[in-house]
Amino acid sequence: MRLKVEPRREVSRALQWLTPPLSVLATVVAAFGLFALMGYDPVRALTDLFVTPLTSQQGLAELALKASPLVMIAVGLAMGFRANVWNIGAEGQLMMGAIAGGGVALLFYGQEGWWILPLMALAAVGGGMAWGAIPALLKTRLGVSEILVSLMLTYVAEQFLSYLVLGPWKDPEGMNFPQSRMFSESATLPILLEGTRVHAGVLVALLVVGVGWLVMSRSILGFEIRTVGSAPAAARYAGFSQTRTVWLTLMAASGLAGLAGLFEVAGPIGQLIPKITPGYGFTAIIVAFLGRLHPLGILLAGLVMALSYIGADQAQVDMGLPNAATGLVQAMLLFFLLASDFLVRYRVRVVRPAAAVQAAIGASQPADRKAVTS
């Protein structure tokens, strides 16, 4: 007996939309077992992870705060993924955006003015794009894989940020801590909701979702991106340029990642520090796929993912669940999503021995030698 994987004749659309919620459910079930094995009360752990954050205004505010960078980055990444442009270095682009935008804040340290924040935002987008331009240039000119280049550049950005906050940009009154000065009032995002940390960046993230949807579903640009991803030859036939698509999608993703990075340092953090995010740039990849590469789906997926971050904090404080549990839960989510995606497209069939011989005849190897040696 053996197992055979074969493509399904028809792929159900309903199932394709059902797999994300199903994966969340499967994650909950698996986490239940895992926590029980680790000796934690699974019900309490799961409640902390997925429910408690939703029961307070503070929790909901944190959810919005953490979801918005994920959503912003994922919308940008999804454009590229649609066109088979695999930018997995959003984390580095995020850091370069934070450095460029934060640099502007430090440059005008102590000055006040409405123009400082917009200038920082422009610089952040530019910084992210500059980092995204390197894989774009190498891919379009030399055919270098953007996967490797964008990923490796993340570590370069990380070192660069460390160098800055340990060296030239270190806060002179900071007791030698690796951090910059705190940004001044004009260089910090306005708070939307008194008593929480929810800042104007959340609105920008919602705007990005709306614009992202318009571009991908209604514009000729989005059409071009989808065509390049689905059928490169048809794209050339239609006169769409592959090079332009690579640039466009990498610039969109890296610009948004840069902006998201700025919103972290000019929002909840308020200064440059060596570690700006718990890996939003990478988590956004999961968010993009969990959201089916569709801006509205990404909005939902971003909220779920943010919940897992906040819930893990909650569980850590409440019952000492290790922080690695966040990573575990996220990884399980992606695993279940990919696995169920696979099962939506393919089915596994049990092939019985007799059938196996039948199937193998005419294919290649089996024991039909006797028949031919006559």
Binding site: S219, I220, A234, V372
Partner: protein, 534 residues
């Protein structure tokens, strides 16, 4: 002039004392909707180089796939050294001593020659001993090959040698070569022929598949000619003229087609002059000095056996591949050789590539989106960067209504349409854009007769309205029916254009078989009867 299978059968049986090494009797293979081989008889003697000649789709590949065990015949028998034999799979074929060199190689570029050979062996061998054997065999047969070199370093000719050596290591009794020279330079062809002659002299039979008449005359002892899946003749190619074989290959009974009344030729709309294009893949064809002119109101046909540069020519005309000389392509007098597809389309050049899925259309997109694909510019389907969905849907509906596309509606995926319906949609989409020049490749491939007639009529209407139409097709009947002039493409070169009225089929066949210039002129003598009848 055609030998019927009865006469042919007699001949197979009558050649005296030697038993045929391979004898096929009444071999038939059916695929859904088509009979690929019908009642094929074929005998190959020991030490003989036997040509299997025929156009694309004549059934050559199906036949050899049955001999090599890739396909199973529905009827008939295969006799090996006189004994009825079943060949259930290629493994069994190799065990019998049948080797095959495919047109497209199956080699791992990252591995060495020796490793590639080892992977193809049915029984594993020690690398060192194998390398030694490869050296010996390659020297014996004049196929210089270093077992330690990596495949990515090797020329196409050298790669073919690996495949041949791989077969020779098994000590084959019958070697099947599928269009082996289509990827080789003339010098490499000469070397290959020496090797094959040497093999034959040592008693190995060779079944040589080709449509190139000159090669067959130069190399083969006997030839069997297939057309439409049937054996239509057998002959000694050295005693035949290329013309008589060409006539057998493409068939003499071409229907007297209703030619349209030739209108007054209008202005030159498309002028191609000295168009050169490098091959972009190992199996690609380079275009060499392609020149032709198409006037308003004219249908220009380009004939040729598949894989002779038709795809490359379409890409070079549509602008999907560009050249550096702007003057190589003139569109209504404008130099566009260096301009891409979008630019040429805006200037009025539309194209229908051969491949429907993934080239002319995106299978998973709706028909509306597929209408946007090529129509977004000329039909004004975009405003302010956004797609005008209603206008796009209207355009899709006009195509569906105007070209009788059978579909539940414009919002279904292109993949759900049958091939013929999708082709009608694609051709309709281009024609409704009212192009000044339309380039169509294989307009009726896989399309039923009714739909084909509708597409032909639409193309003729477009020409009558003052457009220039270029039709690239392997279907001679189609080209003779709708074109005013035809030319033949062969290994990336285009012959002189000939008026369709009064063009000799024989000449077309010779051109398709790769006989140019002097040879053509010389063979314009009336065809002799092939000397195969007993």
């Amino acid at each position: 002039m055609r030998s019927q299978s009865g006469a042919h059968r007699t001949q197979v049986a009558e050649h005296g004392n030697t038993i045929d090494r391979l004898l096929l009797r009444g071999l038939t293979k059916r695929f859904p909707g088509v009979v690929a081989n019908a009642d094929v008889d074929l005998g190959v003697r020991p030490g003989e180089i036997h040509a299997l000649l025929g156009e694309n789709g004549a059934g050559k590949s199906t036949l050899v796939k049955m001999i090599y065990g890739i396909l199973q015949p529905d009827e008939g028998e295969i006799r090996w050294n006189g004994a009825p034999t079943a060949v259930p799979n290629p493994h069994a074929a190799r065990a019998l001593g049948i080797g095959m060199v495919f047109q497209h190689f199956s080699l791992f570029e990252a591995l060495t020659v020796g490793e590639n050979v080892a992977l193809g062996l049915d029984r594993p061998e020690k690398p060192k001993a194998l390398a030694e054997r490869i050296r010996t065999v390659s020297q014996t047969y004049g196929l210089p090959l270093d077992p330690h070199r990596h495949v990515y370093d090797l020329s196409v000719g050298e790669r073919q040698r690996i495949e041949i050596v791989r077969c020779l290591l098994l000590g084959p009794k019958l070697l099947i070569m599928d269009e082996p020279t289509s990827v080789l330079t003339p010098q490499e062809v000469d070397k290959l022929f020496e090797t094959l002659r040497l093999l034959a002299a040592q008693g190995c039979s060779i079944l040589y598949i080709s449509h190139k008449l000159a090669e067959i005359k130069a190399l083969c002892d006997r030839a069997t000619i297939l057309r439409g899946g049937r054996v239509v003749g057998a002959c000694d190619p050295r005693a035949e003229t290329a013309a008589s074989m060409a006539a057998l290959m493409i068939g003499a009974e071409v229907k007297s087609v209703a030619r349209r009344a030739g209108g007054k030729p209008g202005a030159e709309r498309l002028l191609v002059g000295g168009l050169d294009l490098k091959a972009d893949a190992p199996h690609g064809i380079a275009l060499k000095g392609i020149s032709f002119t198409v006037r308003a109101g004219e249908v220009f046909g380009i004939a040729g056996v598949a894989g002779n540069g038709q795809n490359e020519l379409l890409l070079a005309l549509s602008g999907e591949r560009t050249v550096e000389t702007p003057g190589a392509v003139l569109l209504d007098g404008r130099r566009v050789g260096h301009r891409g597809a979008a630019h040429r389309r805006a200037l009025g050049l539309c194209a229908v590539p051969e491949e429907r899925n993934g080239h002319a259309a995106v299978p998973e997109f709706s028909l509306v989106d597929n209408a946007v694909l090529s129509g977004h510019g000329r039909e004004g389907l975009v405003a302010g960067g956004l797609i005008r969905t209603r206008k796009a849907a209207d355009f899709a509906r006009r195509i569906i209504a105007g070209f009788d596309v059978r579909t539940p509606g414009p919002n279904v995926a292109a993949a759900s349409l049958s091939g013929g319906n999708l082709q009608k949609f694609i051709v309709g989409r281009e024609i409704l854009q009212n192009p000044g020049v339309l380039v169509v490749s294989q307009p009726t491939w896989g399309v039923d007769a009714g739909a084909a007639a509708a597409i032909h009529a639409a193309l003729l209407r477009l020409a009558a309205a003052g457009s220039a139409v270029v039709v690239i097709s392997q279907d001679l009947d189609e080209l003779l029916a709708i074109s005013d002039r035809v030319a033949v493409i062969n290994v990336g070169q285009l012959s002189e254009a000939m008026p369709t009225d009064g063009v000799s089929l024989e000449k077309l066949g010779l051109l398709m078989g790769g006989m140019h210039g002097a040879e053509v002129a010389q063979s314009d003598v009336p065809a002799r009867e092939p000397a195969h009848a007993p």
